[in-house]
């Protein structure tokens, strides 16, 4: 987005700069090519869809994370929130909502359950937002706190046990939950459609609406944002709420795919999401980055993950390689940023000189 618009106007940019800017896409292409050569059944439709499915989950989380990070924060709680939301969804399907004081148990229809869980995700996100804006807790600490709390409550919900076989009971109207994870539309899994829908929405909001601008402003310079009349706290709050929403959605999808709620679901997913965001060229110090980049980042991680398995690389090496890729991405990112600033400076200097020449 931000990068794309600059490309259009980049009349003074060299081929090298353009390649640098497209580096995440090039990297994605590179891993594709490498794996399709090394693993014969890599380029099959089935495998591509499977990889897209894995990447889609990370992409959904990464989009929420992008908003938070561009806005100058970080959200470490998403993995645990996904886990807690999965447990709550499983609980509502199997056990319903128990209200002992009235001596009743309420069972909701599946769409209602999904809606409730998404709202819970937003509420959990707003807790992060409140801690960061109203109480002034550092985002890292606030969301780390919620990370532990959410994981703890996920365990407490079932005493550490799994809610198995979430097919539901037709008599109670709780059937159909597995469709979310296993269903397809036009023979493409629903998860991918959901990811695409959210991606379009997130990309649109971040580039074409005042709110999107404000997120970049708040992440770039909070003081200036305040003086410019931007409601900084509201903007931050909204980013954490969106992140909570994507976490809840991830929890639902993962649970649905497994047809079971496990309290450990989504463990360390926050780190994968952050890695995807960083791979996509978003700066951890805020104010710079794009949704599109994060999606490409998630795809790279997804392809790398599945590709390495198919090629038969040991899981120990897989981790090491992922780490190297992330570090390399950030190093190149810093280099590109420096080059970009130099290019802008050159362009401005040339223009100043031309103006001076014209004036004399």
């Amino acid at each position: 987005m931000a990068e794309k618009t600059e490309k259009k106007s980049g009349n003074g940019l060299s081929v090298g700069m353009i390649l640098l800017k497209l580096r995440t896409l090039i990297a994605l292409l590179a891993v594709f090519i490498v794996f399709s050569i090394m693993a014969p059944n890599f380029m099959t439709v089935g495998n591509l869809i499977a990889m897209a499915k894995h990447s889609a989950i990370w992409a959904i989380l990464a989009m929420g994370m992008t908003y938070v990070i561009v806005g100058g924060g970080i959200d470490l709680s998403v993995g645990s929130v996904a886990g807690l939301c999965g447990m709550l969804a499983g609980g509502l399907i199997i056990e319903g909502l128990r209200l002992p004081m009235f001596g009743v148990v309420i069972y909701f229809h599946t769409p209602m359950i999904i809606l409730i869980i998404l709202v819970i995700g937003v509420i959990l996100g707003s807790i992060n937002g409140l801690l960061v804006t109203k109480l002034g807790v550092a985002p890292f600490i606030a969301t780390m706190g919620l990370m532990y709390m959410a994981r703890g409550f996920a365990m407490l919900r079932s005493g550490g046990k799994t809610f198995p076989n979430l097919v539901g009971d037709p008599a109670l109207g709780t059937t159909g939950f597995p469709i979310l994870g296993a269903g397809t539309f036009l023979s493409i899994p629903l998860v991918i459609w959901i990811a695409i829908f959210i991606a379009l929405l997130a990309a649109y909001v971040s580039t074409k609406t005042p709110f999107g601008r404000h997120v970049y402003a708040v992440g770039g310079n909070e003081d200036a944002a305040k003086i410019s009349g931007i409601r900084v706290n509201r903007v931050k709050m909204a980013t954490y709420m969106f992140s909570g929403f994507t976490a809840a959605l991830t929890g639902l999808v993962l649970t649905s795919q497994l047809v079971a709620s496990h309290p450990g679901t989504g463990d360390t997913y926050e780190l994968t999401a952050i890695a995807a965001v960083v791979l996509g060229g978003t700066s951890l110090s805020g104010g710079r980055g794009s949704v599109a980049g994060s999606i490409v980042g998630a795809l790279i991680l997804g392809v790398l993950n599945d590709g390495l398995v198919m090629v038969g690389v040991s899981s120990f090496w897989q981790r090491a390689i992922k780490g190297m890729v992330i570090i390399l991405a950030v190093v190149i990112d810093q280099y590109q940023l420096r080059k970009q600033n130099e290019a802008a400076l050159k362009q401005q200097t040339v223009s100043d000189a031309a103006r001076a020449a014209a004036a004399s």
Binding site: Y216, I227, S228, I230, G287, Q340
Partner: protein, 517 residues
């Protein structure tokens, strides 16, 4: 110039330094003599600090060389990679801003990164450090306990500690960048006697100050910089004060400002009893009341700490504890948040451009429309063509010199950045503009552009509140001048009555001791 044992110790030749968006130094020569006070003067942004940073090894010149002469007169080209290097060669620098660790004690600060150690630089010998620090401080005429935390010292004492830091290296060249700016009159006297003492020991002092009377008093040689270039270099005794000023500003100061009266209309902004309590008792703003009319430039002058910036920020809603009535035409603003106040027609151009005015991560066009973007939409969709139109118009109007509106704001020079900040404020369609030091740190050309913009806005009927710490700026630009002193309004002058002497007096009313300009 060998006389009385003084000789050339350092020579900077043809120094040029280019920063992103600005040339800080252009082919500047500078000579430093031992046992002399080598004064360096120039306006804000003339390049003094940059030149010193290059000599002290903090910055590297883009081109040019620095030669250090030994006692026997043999030159040696310097290329420092750090201040530590420079310090080893006998060059010390006392920075304008304090570079102290406020949670460490005085001795620890003095010996920062040159700790006295035992057992092979593992164990810090605190006792010796304290002893040595005490000795140096005594030499500086200060009886400060070396084990006091720096945060518990007065500002003036902190400045002394800053000087003590360089003294322990026993430098051959000591650079002092505005060392008196936070000292009391008595502390200045002490400092001068220390400088005199150092001078007698053959130390070459480079003295940077805005206070020309100080330079007249203690300086031996003077070098004048203007707009990154060397203007003049001679003995202080050979030059008159008026000439120094003339050369510093490069123009007749009285003629520079476009200042002329404006036709004023109805009252726009009325402020009643604006009060801001100070942390720990007293007031930062003490029941300040005033009003601004259509087409009027209201100047507000005050010394450091008078509450100028706090006043403007309170008006815009940036100070939570501020109380008082704010009326813009018939609308009361003091219960609204910043966003609503801007919508009502009030806008602030902040003092610190980079910290509070700009989004360095974004392009020029996005910076320009950041305050007004919500009005350039249909529902919630930004109308790109409308935004582009507004941006083009404002770039034209503010004569912002920019290669492309999509270029990063960080590539622009200070003056152009400032115009972007003013443009951003202007796009909110304000009625009253609050301008906090709008000409700070920008070059002369941009300064006069900014004045013209202010003038044109006043003619178009905007109300303008202009806060400045430069007296002549306030005097020539304003239709009416208010003087703040320690949070109180102490005087109000019409254009006709105002003169610098009266304003200066009024600004010192609340100060018990006389304050240097």
């Amino acid at each position: 110039m060998e006389e009385n044992g003084s000789h050339l110790v350092l020579e900077a030749k043809g120094i040029t330094k280019v920063f992103p968006g600005t040339t800080a130094l252009q082919d500047v020569d500078f000579k430093i003599y031992s046992g002399r006070i080598n004064a360096l003067v120039g306006e804000n942004g003339a390049g003094k600090s940059t030149l010193m940073k290059i000599i002290a090894g903090i910055e590297r010149p883009t081109s040019g060389s620095v030669l250090l002469y030994g006692d026997d007169g043999t030159p040696e080209e310097l290329s420092f990679s750090s201040t530590r290097d420079a310090a080893k060669r006998g060059i010390g620098i006392v920075h304008q801003e304090l570079n102290l660790f406020s949670d460490l004690d005085v001795a620890e600060n003095v010996f920062m990164n040159k700790e006295i150690t035992r057992f092979g630089s593992v164990h810090i010998d605190h006792a010796t450090q304290q002893q040595e620090a005490r000795k140096v401080l005594k030499k500086l005429g200060q009886d400060i306990n070396p084990s006091t935390l720096v945060r518990d010292l007065r500002l003036g004492q902190q400045q002394i500690v800053e000087i003590a830091k360089t003294m322990i290296d026993e430098p051959r060249i000591l650079i002092m960048d505005e060392p008196t700016s936070s000292l009391s009159a008595a502390e200045v006297r002490v400092l001068f006697s220390v400088i005199e003492d150092l001078k007698c020991h053959g130390v070459a002092i480079v003295y940077i100050s805005h206070r020309l009377e100080e330079i007249k008093e203690i300086g031996d040689y003077i070098t004048i910089l203007r707009d990154a270039r060397l203007v003049d270099s001679r003995q202080v005794a050979d030059i008159e004060m008026a000439d120094i000023i003339q050369k510093m500003v490069g123009r007749d100061p009285t003629k520079f400002f476009s200042g002329q009266a404006h036709k004023t209309g109805k009252e726009l902004l009325r402020v009643k009893d604006m009060t801001l309590p100070r942390f720990g008792g007293g007031y930062t703003l003490d029941h300040v009341s005033f009003s601004v009319r259509e087409g009027e430039v209201l100047g507000i002058y005050g010394l450091m700490g008078a509450g100028r910036t706090e006043l403007l920020e309170s008006l815009l809603g940036g100070m939570e504890k501020a109380e008082g009535e704010i009326w813009l035409e018939d609308k009361r603003l003091d219960h609204l948040d910043t966003k609503r106040r801007i919508e009502a027609g009030l806008v602030l151009i902040p003092e610190e451009r980079q910290r509070e005015g700009l989004f360095l991560n974004l392009s020029v066009d996005k910076n320009l429309t950041m305050s007004s973007i919500s009005s350039l939409t249909k529902w919630f969709h930004i109308l790109k063509s409308l935004e582009t139109k507004r941006v083009t118009e404002i770039i034209e109007k503010m004569s912002i010199r920019v290669a492309s509106p999509r270029i990063s704001i960080s590539a622009l020079s200070g003056g152009n950045q400032q115009k972007v900040v003013i443009g951003k404020a202007f796009l909110t369609e304000p009625k009253v503009l609050l301008m906090d030091e709008p000409t700070r740190g920008i070059d002369v050309g941009a300064k006069s552009d900014v004045f013209q913009i202010v003038h044109a806005m006043a003619q178009d009927g905007f109300g303008i509140v202009l806060v400045s710490s430069e007296l002549e700026e306030v005097c020539s630009m304003s239709d009416r001048i208010l003087v703040l002193s320690k949070g109180k309004l102490t005087a109000e002058f019409d254009r006709a009555q105002a003169n610098e002497e009266k304003i200066r007096k009024a600004s010192e009313v609340e100060h018990s001791m006389t304050v240097q300009s």
